[in-house]
C-alpha cells in the first residue's frame, strides 16, 4: 500500500466517524445548517477520494447518498430517523469497504453489485418521500442568508418572507421600465441591496443608458403580490422562500458566533455612556466574561491577552485597556476560529503532532523493557561490589552511578509508556452510534452521555476493552433499560439514560457503565443460578444480595427474559470479566432494583509494567502478579481448620481454602507438619479466593513480563518470565489459569 492509499484509508475513517457523529447530532437536534453542511462535505470528500484511489463502486454509492443529503441541505427533505438510518447504513458500507481495501488493496468482488442496489435504494428513498411540489421552490442562494440578517428578529419570526432577485435587462430603459420605481412598489420591503451586475468599467467607458444593476430584496409579501408588481418583467425576476427563523437561529448559534457575540456584548457594555464611570466591577467583569468565553472555546492565548489588559486597566483605573484589547480581538477572531472549532469537533486540538508507526513504538517499548532487566542485573552487581570493597569511595560512587541510571531508566520507561497513551475518546467514539441503533431497534428511548473522553490510557487497553464495553453497553440498553411503557408505569421519564465515563486515579483507570434502568434483582439471580446449577444450592442461599448480583459475571447466566440477537445468548458477562482480569483489572457491579445498574471496570493505566511478588516454594523462586495478591498472612496452627480433605481458614467472615503452592506446581514440598505456622499469600482471581502456602516471601519488583517463548510457549499456568535482581530467570505464574 503506497502513501496515498494509506492517506485515503486514514482520511476516510476520520470522515466516516465525523459524519456519523454529525448525523446523530442532527437526528437529535434537527436541522442545523453547519452540521448538515459538514455532513454533505464529508460525503462529497469521500466520493472524491474514492475516485482518486479508483474505487468506482464506492463512488457510485456515495454519489447517491450525496444527492440525498443535497435534498436535506436544500430543505427539500426533513431530517428524519429513516433518513439518518439510510445515511448511516451507507457509511457502514463505506467503512467495511475501507477495511477491505486496507487489507487486500481492493473492494470485495460483489462491491459493484452492492453499490448499484444500494444506490437504487437511496434514490428510491429520495423520490418516494420527496414532498410533492416542494421541488418547485428553488434553493435559496447565499445572498438571501446575507440579506436576511438585515431584517429584525421580530419581523423574521412573525412574518413569512420572500426573497427577490431582479436583474433588469441592460436595455430596459428603452422598454419603458423603471427598475427603481418597481422596487419602490414592493409591498412590505424589509431589506434591499443593489449592486452592479458586472464590475463597473472605467468612467469614460460607462454607458449611462445601459442598466448594469442587480437588485436583491426581502419582503414580507406573497409570491402573487410580487408577481403583480413585476408583471411586465417576469423574465427578469426570481423568487426564493426565506428559510424560517428556527433554522436561522441554529446557524446564528454556532459556537464561533457565540464567542463573537459574548465579546461584542462586553464591548457594548463598556461603550455604554455610563461606562465612563471606570468601575472595576464593570471592566473587570467584562474582561472575566470575555476571557472565560475564550477559554471555553480553547483560545487560551487570547484569554491571557485579555487578562493582561485587565491588569493594565487596574493600574490605570480605567476601562480603556480592556476595551481596546476586546475591540482588537474582534478583528482577529474571524478566521482562526474556524480551525479552533474544527479542533473541538474533530480530534483533540493538539499542538504539533507527529505520526509514528505503531510497530516502531512497540520496538522502542521492548528495548526499554530489556533495559530495565539489564539494570536489575547491574543493581545486584553493585551490591556485590559494595560488599567486596567495603565502605570506600569506589563502592559509594558505583552506588550513586547505579542510582542515577535507575532513575533515568525509570523516567525513560515512563516516557515511552506515555507514547503509547491515547485518549479513551478513541474507545468511546463508536458508542453513541451503537446505543442509537439498538435503542431504535428495541423501541426504547435512550440517551448516552460520554464523560472523561480526554482521559488517557495505554493503547493496548483501548484495543482490548472495546469488546467488553460493547457488551456492557448492549446489555444496558437491552436488559437494563425498560420499555417506555414500563418506565412510564414506574414513574420514570421515558427517556432513559446511560452514562459511559472514564476516570483516572493515579495509575488506575476506571470505566463506568451506568444505566437508570430496572436494576438487577438479586432474588431472580439466585433463582437463575439454582436453575442453571452455577454453584451448590447451599452456597447460593448463603450469598448476600451484593454477592448475588456479582454472579452475572458467571459463565452461563444471562438475565435476558427473551433471547435476542442484540446481547447474545447468555455468554458475555464472563468474557467481560475475563478480559478485564487479563488486563490486570477487576469488574464490579452495583445495582438497585428499579433505579439502575452500574458496572465498573477498574484497570491499571499501563498494562505493560507489572508488580511482581517473589516467593519461594518447593525450593524454587516464583513470581506472583501483585494485582491478584490481596494480603499475606502467617497463621497460627489453631486457626487452620480441616474441611474434609482440605485445609482452610476464616478470614474476615470468608472461608479461604489453603493450597500449598508447591503442590499446585507438582513440586516436592516440605512435609506438612514441618511448617507449624504456615505463611500464606491470599490471592483473589476469577472470582475465587485462595491462600497459597509458600516457604518464603522474598521481595517485590517492577518488571516487564516477557511472554514464554520457544519450547515453553505452550506451558500452561505461566504468565511470562522476568529477570530477578541477581540475574536469574523468574517464572511468573498465571494464577487464574493455575487455579482453575
Amino acid at each position: 500500500m503506497n502513501e496515498m492509499q494509506e492517506q485515503f484509508v486514514a482520511e476516510a475513517r476520520e470522515l466516516v466517524h465525523q459524519a456519523t457523529d454529525d448525523l446523530m447530532a442532527i437526528e437529535r437536534s434537527g436541522f442545523e445548517v453547519e452540521r448538515i453542511d459538514r455532513i454533505f462535505r464529508a460525503f462529497h470528500t469521500l466520493k472524491g477520494s474514492a475516485g482518486v484511489v479508483d474505487l468506482p463502486a464506492m463512488g457510485l454509492l456515495l454519489h447517491a447518498a450525496e444527492d440525498l443529503l443535497a435534498a436535506v441541505n436544500a430543505k427539500k427533505r426533513p431530517v428524519t430517523t429513516a433518513l439518518v438510518s439510510e445515511a448511516l447504513q451507507c457509511l457502514d458500507q463505506v467503512s467495511s469497504w475501507v477495511d477491505a481495501y486496507e487489507a487486500r488493496g481492493a473492494l470485495p468482488a460483489q462491491a459493484g453489485e452492492l453499490a448499484r442496489s444500494a444506490a437504487l435504494r437511496l434514490r428510491a428513498f429520495l423520490s418516494d418521500t420527496t414532498p410533492s411540489g416542494a421541488g418547485a421552490t428553488a434553493q435559496a442562494p447565499a445572498w438571501v442568508t446575507a440579506l436576511v440578517d438585515q431584517v429584525s428578529a421580530s419581523d423574521r419570526s412573525s412574518k413569512v418572507l420572500l426573497a427577490l432577485a431582479y436583474v433588469p435587462l441592460p436595455g430596459c430603459f428603452f422598454n419603458g421600465d423603471d427598475p427603481l420605481g418597481l422596487v419602490a412598489k414592493i409591498p412590505d420591503l424589509l431589506a434591499l441591496s443593489v449592486e452592479p451586475r458586472e464590475a463597473w468599467p472605467p468612467l469614460v467607458d460607462i454607458d449611462p443608458y445601459a442598466c448594469n444593476l442587480r437588485i436583491h430584496a426581502i419582503a414580507a409579501a406573497t409570491r402573487d403580490d410580487l408577481a403583480a408588481v413585476f408583471r411586465l418583467v417576469p423574465d427578469q425576476i426570481e423568487m426564493f422562500d426565506v428559510p424560517p427563523l428556527a433554522a436561522a437561529t441554529a446557524a446564528d448559534s454556532k459556537p464561533a458566533t457565540l464567542l463573537d457575540d459574548i465579546i461584542g456584548c462586553q464591548i457594548a457594555m463598556l461603550e455604554n455612556a455610563q461606562a465612563h464611570d471606570n468601575l472595576y466591577g464593570r471592566y473587570g467583569s467584562a474582561a472575566r466574561a470575555a476571557a472565560n468565553a475564550l477559554r471555553h472555546f480553547a483560545r487560551n492565548d487570547l484569554a491571557s491577552e485579555v487578562e493582561a489588559a485587565l491588569q493594565r486597566a487596574r493600574v490605570q483605573q480605567s476601562s480603556g485597556p480592556v476595551l481596546e484589547t476586546l475591540r482588537d480581538l474582534t478583528t482577529r477572531l474571524v478566521t482562526p476560529l474556524a480551525s479552533a472549532e474544527q479542533g473541538q469537533n474533530g480530534a483533540p486540538a493538539a499542538g504539533r503532532s507527529l505520526r509514528i508507526d505503531e510497530a516502531r513504538i512497540d520496538s522502542l517499548f521492548n528495548l526499554s523493557g530489556e533495559l530495565i532487566v539489564a539494570k536489575n542485573g547491574l543493581a545486584h552487581l553493585t551490591q556485590r561490589v559494595e560488599a567486596a570493597v567495603g565502605d570506600g569511595d569506589l563502592g559509594r560512587n558505583i552506588r550513586t552511578a547505579t542510582e542515577n541510571l535507575d532513575r533515568l531508566i525509570a523516567e525513560m520507561h515512563a516516557a515511552v509508556l506515555q507514547l503509547r497513551m491515547v485518549p479513551v475518546s478513541l474507545l468511546f467514539r463508536s458508542f453513541p452510534r451503537v446505543v442509537r441503533d439498538i435503542a431504535l431497534r428495541l423501541d426504547k428511548q435512550v440517551e448516552l452521555t460520554v464523560k472523561g473522553t480526554t482521559t488517557e490510557c495505554d493503547k493496548n487497553l483501548v484495543e482490548r476493552l472495546f469488546e467488553p464495553l460493547l457488551h456492557l453497553v448492549r446489555n444496558a440498553v437491552d436488559h437494563g433499560i425498560e420499555s417506555p411503557e414500563q418506565r412510564r408505569a414506574a414513574g420514570k421519564p421515558e427517556q432513559a439514560h446511560i452514562t459511559l465515563e472514564a476516570t483516572r486515579a493515579g495509575d488506575r483507570l476506571a470505566i463506568d457503565v451506568r444505566d437508570d434502568g430496572r436494576g438487577i434483582d438479586p432474588a431472580a439471580i439466585r433463582a437463575k443460578a439454582r436453575e442453571r446449577n452455577v454453584m451448590a444450592p447451599e452456597d447460593i442461599d448463603a450469598l448476600s444480595d451484593d454477592q448475588s448480583i456479582q454472579l452475572i459475571f458467571s459463565a452461563g447466566l444471562s438475565m435476558a427474559s427473551a433471547v435476542t440477537d442484540i446481547s447474545g445468548r447468555g455468554v458475555g458477562m464472563d468474557v467481560v470479566r475475563n478480559t478485564v482480569e487479563q488486563l490486570g483489572g477487576r469488574t464490579t457491579v452495583t445495582s438497585t432494583v428499579g433505579a439502575g445498574t452500574s458496572v465498573r471496570l477498574d484497570l491499571p493505566v499501563n498494562v505493560a509494567m507489572s508488580q511482581i511478588m517473589v516467593v519461594a516454594a518447593g525450593g524454587q523462586l516464583f513470581g506472583l502478579p501483585m494485582d491478584v495478591v490481596s494480603e499475606t498472612v502467617r497463621l497460627t496452627p489453631d486457626r487452620v481448620s480441616q474441611i474434609k480433605t482440605n485445609r482452610g481458614f476464616v478470614l474476615r467472615d470468608r472461608i479461604v481454602p489453603i493450597c500449598a503452592l508447591a503442590e499446585v506446581l507438582s513440586l516436592p514440598g516440605r512435609p506438612k507438619d514441618a511448617q507449624a505456622t504456615p505463611l500464606l499469600v491470599v490471592v483473589e482471581t476469577g472470582g475465587k479466593i485462595v491462600a497459597l502456602e509458600v516457604d518464603a516471601i522474598n521481595d517485590r519488583l517492577d518488571a516487564v513480563l516477557k511472554p514464554m517463548q520457544g519450547l515453553l510457549a505452550n506451558a500452561r499456568g505461566y504468565a511470562g518470565t522476568t529477570m530477578t535482581a541477581d540475574g536469574r530467570v523468574l517464572l511468573v505464574l498465571d494464577l487464574k489459569e493455575l487455579l482453575s
Binding site: 457565540l258 455604554n272 466591577g281 466574561a289 477559554r295 471555553h296
Partner: protein, 133 residues
C-alpha cells in the same frame, strides 16, 4: 463533551429569581450539565450569597420583589471586592432594545430573553464560566 470543571473544580452558579419554578428549571438543567448551583430569591439574598461564597457566573432575573436584578447588578459593580467583577447573565422578559440597554447599563455581561431553552442556558453559562471543553 465538556468536562464539568473550570480551574480544576466544578463551576458554581448562583441563580437569582423570585419564582421557585423558574429556579427549579435552571437548577435541574444546570445540575444535569454538571454545575454546582446555589439559589437566591432576590437581589438582597443574592448579595449575601455572593459576599459569602465563590461563584463563577450569576444568572439574574430582572423583575424581583425586594431588590430587582438591575439594581442588584448596579450595586454589585460598585463594590470594591473581587465579587464586583463576577460575570452576570441577565434574563429579561422582553426582547426590546431598551431592556437590553438597561441590562448593559447596569453592567450585565450577557442577556437572554425568556423563555430560555435548556440548551441555550447551558451553552451560554458554560462559555461565561470558562468551562473547559
Amino acid at each position: 463533551m465538556a468536562t464539568a470543571e473550570t480551574k480544576g473544580r466544578r463551576a458554581r452558579i448562583l441563580v437569582v429569581d423570585d419564582s421557585s419554578l423558574v429556579r427549579l428549571y435552571y437548577l435541574s438543567a444546570l445540575e444535569k450539565a454538571g454545575f454546582v448551583v446555589e439559589q437566591a430569591i432576590n437581589g438582597i439574598e443574592a448579595t449575601e450569597k455572593v459576599l459569602d461564597q465563590d461563584f463563577d457566573v450569576l444568572i439574574v432575573d430582572v423583575n424581583m420583589p425586594g431588590m430587582d436584578g438591575i439594581s442588584f447588578v448596579k450595586d454589585l459593580r460598585r463594590r470594591n471586592e473581587d465579587v464586583a467583577a463576577l460575570p452576570v447573565l441577565m434574563i429579561t422578559t422582553e426582547a426590546g432594545e431598551q431592556d437590553f440597554a438597561d441590562a448593559r447599563a447596569a453592567g450585565a455581561n450577557y442577556y437572554l430573553v425568556k423563555p430560555v431553552s435548556e440548551a441555550d442556558l447551558i451553552r451560554h453559562v458554560s462559555a461565561l464560566a470558562g468551562w473547559a471543553r
